[in-house]
Symmetry: C2
Subunit: 117 residues, 2 copies
């Protein structure tokens, strides 16, 4: 491959206290803070709440994207973060942000895949 | 895991004729057609064009999401599709849509990862 886009972490995690999986608003505030703190640039986003049955959120970044889908009825979420290395190596940021997300949700990692794209 | 969310395909592919990697509008039309044809439900989307230097697109679905990031200068794109099996098994749709995307871009697959989440 002529260019290696970057690191993509995909994870499934469980959350005991499901409040944080039920509505997107606190998650959006948290993601916005992370994006600012890590110097990323948001170019658009979608958050959609499923009537108390979880939410989905996708944030489009100049560096690629992050996404979350939650299933409070299963105490479960899937999370992705993919940052390209176009201007600099963002692999450490991907790992750091993933750990911050686990902390925010007080989550237990079920499965994590680190994919170098 | 109490619930298996579904199949996620992540791929890098190369495209010889870069026109299709340069601007998002034709891709958006194509994705909208696919979403209708496969009976998926879009809940939001972001398309962002990088001034002739490629584009990024993320479509949020009730079934999860799909995303594309393009680098025309490297004849390269990364594509993801993840459909949850919440109401029915969507694994075959994930594979079919991925193949349709390859055809649309007249792409050569460089690397494909099938991740059962």
């Amino acid at each position: 491959m002529p260019y290696q886009p970057g690191l993509h972490i995909l994870a499934e995690f469980s959350v005991a206290a499901v409040t944080s999986l039920s509505a997107s608003a606190p998650c959006k505030l948290f993601f916005d803070g992370l994006i600012a703190e890590y110097g990323l640039e948001k170019v658009g986003e979608v958050y959609h709440d499923f009537n108390g049955a979880g939410f989905t959120g996708v944030v489009c970044l100049t560096e690629s994207h992050l996404s979350i889908h939650t299933w409070p009825e299963f105490n479960l979420a899937t999370f992705d973060i993919f940052l390209s290395n176009y201007q600099k190596d963002n692999s450490e940021k991907v790992k750091a942000i993933y750990n911050r997300v686990l902390s925010f949700f007080e989550a237990t990692e079920i499965k994590k895949t680190e994919l170098v794209r």
